[in-house]
Each structure stands twice: as structure tokens, then as C-alpha cells.
């Protein structure tokens, strides 16, 4: 595997020595993994529930309202349950809520004023215009935007590597005809395509990811095309050909591992531009379907609630810090994988 050869190990060691980039990477990784378990920190369901002598774990398991003596079979409304007589009648009954006891799509009906409310001890970052806890929405929004950016990154890389590789390896007519098609394709405006597909299929996160992936492979294919064009005339490819290696083997086993440098160095920038584009689409209302938590959606609320500073400052800071960390990682990766010598002449 390419990951195990000495050059790559050396580059990873180099990356680790660039502290700013390495720690940014660790922060992003840890916060993202934590956000995948956001239900344990931010939730309107209790972590543990002790009811009439039995333990329940509502975060990981579904309990119907009937279980706790209510008269509905839908999921139990734990906050109402906590206040109900049936629950209070037994003094041993306890509910343990997470650190932030609000769901990302839960309108709080005990607000201090009319939403959006400013930060207070109940809602640490305030609430949005529907009375939903802003911190909860920002945390779930982080999970959504990082996940989507990552999935789009994978889709666009798979398509881009495939198309660019074929173009570069075979060259000639295949290359030129693909290149013309790509030119046309990249000039088609994004929004009408998204609107068209959203009207044919149900608007969903999956659709958004697919449309994004369809557009964002183009940049990757340019890099791959250039790398393959260069590599196909190099001796090691010629000698592989002369011993009768198949085209598939040459492309996959010989050239592809050598193209890893541009692929790795542009990856952080691909991620950060996806995050920006997704948030812009959410801002316009064409992004992830409501009520999915999203930073762009909070920012769009800010434009109609200019006096509520928290609606603009907190999501903007989230975007800023995330993108800053990603660009620190990008800078360090570039330094580790593609070092540019620098020296000063004494003239």
C-alpha cells in the first residue's frame, strides 16, 4: 500500500513536526468524532431514566409513551413526563439529561422572551427565531457540514481520479473529447440543475450530495489528467508496458500511487470550499432541507434579525474557526508533501 512506503511515512513524520497544522488536524478530528456522538451531549432525551424500579436509556433506544403510563404509542415526551404526576408520584424516579438538554429541532416553550432570545443561563448561545437552542443547532450543524463536505470529497475524488486518469493515460481523441465535454459541463449553472433535480426527485441531503459531487470532480480531474499525461511517458511506465503489464495494472498500481502528492495537497482546500459552498446554499434556502441544522440557515436568520447579534456572530465564528483549522492543515500538508526549497541569495 502507498500509505506504508518509506517516503509516505517520512512525509507523515514531517507533517507531525509542523505543530500548527498537526494540532489543527487533531482538533478537527476529535471534535468531529465527538460531534458524531452529539446525541450524548446535546439532546432533549434523558441519558438515563429510572422509572418505577427499572432503568431506561432513551438516547439509544426508542420507548413509546405507554411505557411510562402515558396514553400514546409515539415516542415518549420526556420533558412532559418529568413534570407529570405519574412520574413525580414515585420519589425514586429520576431523569438524567445531557449537558445541553435541548434537541436541535426543539422549540423551547419556556423562553424568557419572544424568540430569538439572546444568550442566558438556560440557552448559552441564545435561541433562533423559532426558539430552538442555538448551541445545539451549531453543534449538529458542524456534524452535518463536515460530514457532507467529506462525502462530497470522496465522490468527487472517485469520479475525478477515474475521468482524469483515463484522459491522461490514453490522451489523444479520448482526452480531447472528454475535455470539450467537461468545458460544457462546468459552464452549466449549478442552481438550475439543483432546482430541476429537486423538482424531479424529493429534495434531500442525498440529492444535494450527488449534485455537488457531479460538479466538484472537475478540478480533481484536471490534476489527475496532468499527472497521468506526464507519467505515461516516464521510463517506469514504458518498462511496465514492455513486460506486458495491462493498462489497468499500469494505471492502478504504477501511476496512481505517484499522483498522491497533488491529491493530498488539494484535499483540505476541496473540503473547505465545499463547506463554504454548502453554507451559501443553506443561506439561500437551497441547501439541506429543513429542519436539518445548518450554519448557513442561522446566518440567513441573522439578516432578518439584525438586532440579535448572536445569530450572526456565533455561526460566523464557527465557520471561521473551522475553515481556519482546515487551512492550517492544508498549509502543513502542502509543506510536508510538496516542500518548496527557499533560500536567500547574498547579492
Amino acid at each position: 500500500m502507498a500509505l506504508l512506503n518509506p517516503i509516505m511515512r517520512k512525509r507523515f513524520r514531517k507533517f507531525k513536526t509542523i505543530k500548527r497544522g498537526y494540532y489543527s488536524f487533531l482538533i478537527l478530528l476529535i471534535t468531529y468524532v465527538m460531534s458524531l456522538g452529539a446525541e450524548l451531549f446535546v439532546n432533549n432525551k434523558p441519558l438515563v431514566l429510572y422509572y418505577n424500579g427499572e432503568y431506561y436509556f432513551p438516547v439509544v433506544k426508542f420507548y413509546a409513551g405507554e411505557t411510562f403510563g402515558a396514553d400514546y404509542i409515539a415516542e415518549a415526551q420526556y420533558k412532559e413526563l418529568e413534570k407529570s404526576e405519574a412520574f413525580k408520584s414515585n420519589p425514586d424516579n429520576v431523569m438524567l439529561f445531557p449537558l445541553i438538554p435541548f434537541g436541535y429541532n426543539e422549540s423551547d416553550n419556556q423562553l424568557s422572551g419572544s424568540p430569538p432570545t439572546t444568550p442566558d443561563s438556560r440557552h448559552w448561545l441564545g435561541t433562533d427565531d423559532r426558539g430552538r437552542d442555538l448551541l445545539a443547532r451549531l453543534i449538529y450543524g458542524y456534524r452535518v457540514s463536515m460530514s457532507l463536505a467529506f462525502i462530497i470529497f470522496i465522490i468527487s475524488y472517485i469520479i475525478g481520479i477515474f475521468v482524469g486518469g483515463l484522459q491522461g493515460y490514453f490522451g489523444g481523441v479520448i482526452d480531447l473529447s472528454f475535455q470539450r465535454l467537461i468545458e460544457v459541463f462546468s459552464a452549466i449553472p449549478f442552481l438550475p440543475v439543483l432546482m430541476l433535480l429537486a423538482s424531479v426527485f424529493e429534495p434531500s441531503i442525498l440529492l444535494l450530495v450527488v449534485v455537488f459531487g457531479l460538479y466538484r470532480w472537475i478540478g480533481v480531474s484536471y490534476y489527475m489528467r496532468a499527472e497521468f499525461l506526464r507519467a505515461r511517458k516516464v521510463e517506469y511506465v514504458e518498462s511496465a508496458k514492455s513486460v506486458g503489464a495491462s493498462s489497468v495494472a499500469i494505471m492502478g498500481r504504477h501511476i496512481l500511487p505517484n499522483t498522491i502528492t497533488p491529491l493530498v495537497t488539494i484535499a483540505p482546500f476541496a473540503i473547505s470550499s465545499s463547506i463554504i459552498l454548502l453554507s451559501s446554499l443553506d443561506f439561500l434556502g437551497f441547501g439541506v432541507p429543513a429542519p436539518t441544522a445548518s450554519w448557513g440557515e442561522v446566518l440567513s436568520q441573522a439578516t432578518s434579525n439584525l438586532t440579535s447579534y448572536h445569530l450572526s456572530v456565533f455561526p460566523a465564528v464557527c465557520l471561521f474557526v473551522t475553515l481556519l483549522l482546515v487551512s492550517f492543515v492544508g498549509e502543513a500538508v502542502r509543506e510536508a508533501f510538496d516542500p518548496k526549497p527557499y533560500f536567500r541569495h547574498k547579492g
Binding site: V184, S199, S272, L284, Y309, S312, A316, S327, K346
Partner: protein, 332 residues
Amino acid sequence: MFPTMLGITVVTFAILQVLPGGPVEQAMTKMRFGAQGGGDMGGASSSANSQIDDEYVEALKEAYGFDKPIHVRYFKWLTDLVRLDLGDSWFYDEPVMDVVTQRFPVSIAFGIFSLFFTYLICVPLGILKSLAHNRFFDYATSVLVFFGYSIPGYALLILLIVLFCGGSYFDIFPMQGMTSENFSDLSFFGKAKDLVMHMTLPMTAYIVNQFAFTTMMMKNSMIEQITSDYVRTAYAKGLTSKIAIGKHALRNALIPIATGFGDFVAVFLASSLLIEKISGLDGIGLLTYDSLLNRDYPVVMGVIVLSSVAMMVGNLISDLSYTLIDPRIDFK
């Protein structure tokens, strides 16, 4: 070049035409709502109504040209285009060309400002940073560059508006539009001040990302040249660094930046949808977006044609400016 453009127009035209919610559908929805509001006469009159509906729909389709198949419509649009006629906007009831040119002031403001900013700030800053690589000046200005990388322009604009436009803090800049209502009554300096006050925030947001990218591109390009062999040779034969760097290295380092040189053709079409939307500026980006929402296809197609032409002419000028900067490049 032209086959590519033909391809772009064919695909875009097709997508726009099959997009649901077109003008005929819009008119029908309006009519249906009108009929419901009109009265609850019951089933008796409904067949008569649908008769009128059908005739009306046919008339509507004819008015918008939807009675003909899609390829006929496309070729009509294309033959008009060859005669330099982009057709009439359905929404504004004006020729598309007029609708677009009305939006030029905002685009020109965006375009010219970012052009000046790129060449007067980003290029010199990039050069200075390359010379001061890993020294104090480089680190200090990198803070600005990383800021530019990391804050999306529209998010910065919202922050600036909250801070400076009288929401809850300072009340310095007006929130929306390009000019005040009494603009025509103002003196020349009054007009200039009014424009500056209105455009400061959107312009800042418009250039913030571009600033980071262009500066870093210039810096990296310059470093690549400074450390190359021919500059070492220049020093070795005794040239001063003023000539070795200022003349030889700089000229080569400018080549990647010259890609953007052709952009000044696109000055008329410079736009940013989000910034125009937030600041209420009537620019090309907002026009295209609104036209798309209104399904005003002639305008959308018109903007796409104009911007592809601007892009092609711009590329041509970029190529020509390559040969000016680097005589080794020729396209023969």
C-alpha cells in the same frame, strides 16, 4: 471555442425549459386560485370553466412560444442571437439587453474595485511577502491572509452589517442599496461620499477571499522564481538584487497572475449573488437569481451568453498578455 459555447447554450436551454413552474404553469396557478376565490358555484359551471381554461392555456402557450417543440424554440432563440437579439424579458417586459445593462453600475463598481485591489495591493504584498519569507513582515501579514481564507465573504458582510449599520452597535454605514434616495440632489462630492459609504461594506466582503488567494498565489509564484537557477546565475554574474529580482524574477512570477488580466473584460459582469442579496444591490448576480426564480428564461440565457462571451474574450486577452510578459510563449 464556438462549439463549446453552442454546447453550453443547448444544455442550459434544455434544463431551463424542462424546469417545472414555468410562466404558463405560473399563470395557470394564479388563475386557479382566482377561480377558487371567485365563487363556490358548484359543479355546474366547472365544465364551462375548463373550456375557457383550455383556450386560455393555449393562448398563454402561444404567447410564450411553448406551443412549439423544444428544438424549434431553441433554433428561434439561436437565430435571434445571431442577429444580436437576446429577446425580451418576460418578467420586466423589456429587451434582455436593457435589463442587463441597467445592472452594469453595480458590476462595474465590483469589477473595477477588485481589479485595482488585486494589482495595487495583492501583487505588491505578495512580492514583499516572498522577499520576507519566514520573517516578521511575512508572519504579520499572514494573519490577514489566513483571515481572508477562512471567513466566507457573505458571513463577513452580515457581521459588518450587524456591527456598523445601526442594528445594536455603531450606526456608520447605510444598510442597503448603492445610493441614497436623494442621490440626484447631492453635489459631486456628496455623491462620491454617498457611494463610498454605501459600497464600503459590500466591497470589503467582495474582495476578502480573493485577497487571500491572489496574495498567496503571487507569493508562491515569486518564491518559485527567486529560488530558480537563472536567478542564481544572475547573481553569479554580478547583477544587483534589484535587477535580478525586480527585473528577471518578477517578470516570470507575474505570468500566473496574468491569467486574471483578461478579467477586466468581465468587469461589466462582475457579481456576487450573496453579497448583492444581503446588501440589496441590483447587480447581475441577483438579476440572474431572481430571473431563475421567476422562470424568466430569456434573461437567464442572456446572462449566460454574455458571460461566456466575456470569458472567451478575456481568455484571448490573457493569452495575448502572456506573450507580452514572456516573449518565449507564442501560439503559432
